[in-house]
């Protein structure tokens, strides 16, 4: 006996009076929702992912989309999603794969934190006419500076400074690999960070030669699979990031299916054409902080101590202690990826249930590093669900030096968060390697959109800082006095080290 199929998720309809049969919906849908039969456009709503490509491209606004037109019998425990997952797994016996970030309805802590503004006695600053200092340096800072005085009276800096990344805004684009996203998507992001004076991550897929002109704005990643990693790659990066974990799937490795390993991806990752690109869960040369220190130092040694080394971990229960260990491993920055972090593909059970929110993780790490007197020894970069400039400002007030954005930058390229990245059919040309789809991204236009987003958030951050009477990003960093918790419980306020509203 068959279980049958689950009801369709979305219902597409066309206003036939408006439709002029231009066929753009047919041409644009890579999931095969539309087809032509006897000069009529037929619809298979079951194939729809709500990517909105057809709606965006329809010149007559003739297409409409509704979510879940078929209801199950309502039940507070056995939700439609719970039942559909069971049906899916009963039929296949497999792990459910999912894309994008955590789709569960957890409370968002960012939305329960409010920022401060100055009033009478401590005036606000007007960023329109006052300089606002957003320049951010990522890397180790000396605990103190020592100087020497020559016989002639010249003062020279004696302290040897560690290499730092210099950002014009405390906002970078996180690591999304070539393979997970298309080359045109990566190129758009690369051009945008070069325009806006910040950085992007290559992800673990190596660096395609088209990106070489932007390499001074790129952070190269070394993951357990070591894809695309050789000495040339390491030397190209402005910084090097060791990826230990990822917010969307803490504790597990990565896996790019063989069908996505086309000749260009194979060439960039330096692996055979069509083979699975498997990143094992652990780095097999790291089983302790001492081993991590060895890899950090090995990368520094290979690049003659000229580049900062970041270590990225997923935000998990004991994240603060892990970050303290990383700080002592001689890494220059620790990247913490919260459980809202996006991904091209992850087991759904991990994406939705493993890890902790980035807000709590930043605060806990900042406190632990301060308590141990080693906060200066490492920069903190937060990522995983940063949606707007308020999230950015709150992240910094909780203790981050800078943030990575991922999904937000893809939305600026057209992504509608349909969550089907793992199918390789992204109609927006982002999470796909199909040439006809990849070509849908004009990298000049795409980069302008991403650059606009970074510019807009930077302006808003300046305004938020000015309102709080702060003219330097350094004064916002870890400044809990500029935050208050609204409708947060006492335990969470303690973890965040934030007072409640009214206090």
């Amino acid at each position: 006996m068959s279980l049958g199929s689950v009801p369709l998720k979305y219902k597409i309809s066309i206003d036939r009076d408006q439709c002029m049969k231009c066929m753009r919906c047919v041409d644009n849908c890579s999931y095969g929702v539309y087809r032509i039969e006897d000069d009529k456009i037929l619809i298979d709503s079951r194939r729809c992912t709500a990517c909105h490509r057809c709606i965006s491209m329809c010149p007559r606004d003739a297409i409409s989309l509704q979510e879940k037109p078929v209801d199950y019998r309502s039940h507070p425990l056995w939700t439609a999603q719970a039942r559909e997952d069971i049906i899916n797994q009963a039929r296949t016996g497999k792990i459910i794969l999912a894309g994008m970030g955590n789709a569960m309805d957890y409370p968002i802590i960012f939305d329960r934190l409010v920022l401060d503004a100055c009033q009478v006695t401590n005036p606000s600053i007007d960023p329109l006419r006052e300089p606002m200092e957003l320049r951010t340096y990522l890397g180790k800072k000396p605990a103190k500076l020592e100087f020497t005085k020559s016989d002639k009276g010249d003062i020279e800096l004696k302290t040897e400074l560690s290499p730092n990344l210099k950002l014009d805004t405390p906002l970078m684009i996180g690591h999304m690999s070539y393979g997970a996203i298309s080359l045109n998507a990566q190129l758009s992001l690369a051009k945008a960070v070069a325009k806006t004076g910040t950085f992007m991550g290559t992800g673990e897929g190596g660096m395609h030669e088209s990106l070489y002109p932007y390499q001074s704005n790129m952070i190269v990643q070394v993951a357990s699979g070591r894809f695309g990693v050789d000495i040339n790659y390491l030397e190209r990066g402005a910084a090097i990031e060791i990826k230990i974990g990822q917010g969307a799937k803490p504790g597990i490795g990565g896996h790019l299916p063989g069908e996505k390993v086309c000749s260009d991806v194979s060439c960039t990752r330096m692996i055979p054409l069509g083979s699975d690109a498997i990143s094992p869960a652990p780095h097999h040369d790291i089983y302790s902080i001492e081993d991590l220190a060895q890899l950090v130092r090995s990368l520094k040694e290979a690049t003659e101590w000229k580049k900062p080394i970041f270590v990225k971990i997923a935000a998990v229960h004991n994240v603060a202690a892990i970050a303290a260990g990383i700080a002592r491993s001689s890494a220059d920055a620790v990247v913490i990826d919260g459980f809202r972090g996006g991904t091209g593909a992850a087991p759904k059970v991990f994406r939705d249930n493993v890890g902790i929110p980035i807000e709590a993780a930043i605060a806990a790490v900042d406190k632990k590093l301060n308590d141990q007197g080693i906060r200066n020894e490492v920069s903190v970069i937060a990522s995983g669900g940063i949606r707007n400039s308020a999230d950015l400002a709150k992240s910094i007030a909780l203790g981050a030096d800078a943030v990575y954005i991922g999904t937000a930058s893809l939305i600026a390229l057209g992504c509608r968060v349909c969550g089907n990245c793992y199918r390789g059919l992204c109609p927006w040309g982002i999470a796909t390697q199909q040439p006809d789809l990849v070509n849908r991204i004009d990298t000049d236009v795409g980069s302008q959109h991403v650059a606009n987003l970074i510019h807009a958030w930077t302006l808003e951050l300046s305004e938020l800082m000015g309102a709080a009477g702060i003219n330097s990003i350094e004064s916002l960093r870890g400044n809990r006095e500029r935050l208050r918790g609204y409708m947060l419980d006492e335990g969470m306020l303690k973890v965040l080290n934030v007072d409640p509203v009214g206090a």
């Binding site: 999912a98 070591r226 330096m270 692996i271 699975d276 040369d285 060895q294 090995s298 290979a302 969550g419």
Partner: protein, 243 residues
């Protein structure tokens, strides 16, 4: 050029090596090596480096071109993510030897530890080789994605008696002297008969390795080997279903 590494930290040692290579030196001998890590790390050259002593971890990591000859044992992960060149160890080596090696060769006369050849991969014309004279511990060739591992088992009853051989292998081949129990194979690995064609293909490599470790190669030029290959180049393709 000779360097006395006694009591020297690895950074000044590597700096000396780089400076020597930059000034055109093509033969370097390093004496009294005792645990210095990262020797020849990221080095690009055709220099020949003779190491007298016991180098520390990650010998030749990211290396592209040099030849390192070690007269002694080596700590873990020699040849880690190596791109090109040769490492010959005339003693034994630790865990994760040739980790993620993409090109070049690592020859070890004695034994190696756990996870030898893990994640070795090949690309285009680059086909890395790990050859071991003695035996290895568990998870040899784990997640192997390309290249060749040869284990002769000299001085041992069987070449490898630890489990997990080729666990997760999805490319390349593992050649073990003699027969290997099926129970020692890892997930995704399968045994096939070592043929005359295989011998013809691999004879030059076996001969060169034996000559490098100063062993008579004639005793190893037969088909008394077990060949282990991937059951699939896509071992996890059927593990997932869509949301």
């Amino acid at each position: 050029m000779t360097i006395d590494a006694k009591g020297m930290h690895y950074t000044p040692l590597n700096k000396m090596i780089r400076q020597a290579v930059a000034s055109g030196v093509r033969e370097i001998v390093i004496d009294n090596v005792l645990g210095q890590r990262f020797i020849a790390n990221g080095l690009r050259s055709n220099v020949r480096i003779t190491i007298n002593g016991v180098p520390g971890g990650d010998l030749g990591m990211f290396m592209s071109g040099p030849e390192c000859i070690v007269h002694g044992d080596s700590e873990h992960a020699p040849g880690n993510t190596m791109d090109n060149g040769t490492i010959v160890i005339h003693g034994s080596a630790g865990d994760a030897v040739a980790h993620s090696m993409r090109g070049g060769r690592v020859f070890v006369r004695g034994d190696i530890g756990y996870r030898g050849g893990i994640h070795m991969k090949e690309y285009d014309q680059k086909r890395p080789v790990l050859a071991v004279g003695g035996t290895t511990h568990a998870f040899l060739g784990e997640y192997m994605a390309g290249g060749i591992i040869i284990v002769l088992g000299i001085g041992h009853e069987v070449a490898v008696k630890d489990r997990g051989i080729g666990s997760g292998i999805h490319g390349g081949e593992i050649i073990l002297r003699g027969d290997i129990e099926d129970r020692l194979l890892g997930v995704g690995a399968r045994k096939v008969i070592f043929t005359e064609d295989d011998l013809n293909r691999l004879s030059p490599l076996i001969t060169e390795f034996c000559e490098r470790i100063e062993v008579d190669p004639s005793q190893f030029l037969d088909t008394n080997y077990t060949r282990i290959i991937p059951a699939s180049s896509r071992p996890f393709a059927g593990k997932y279903t869509w949301e």
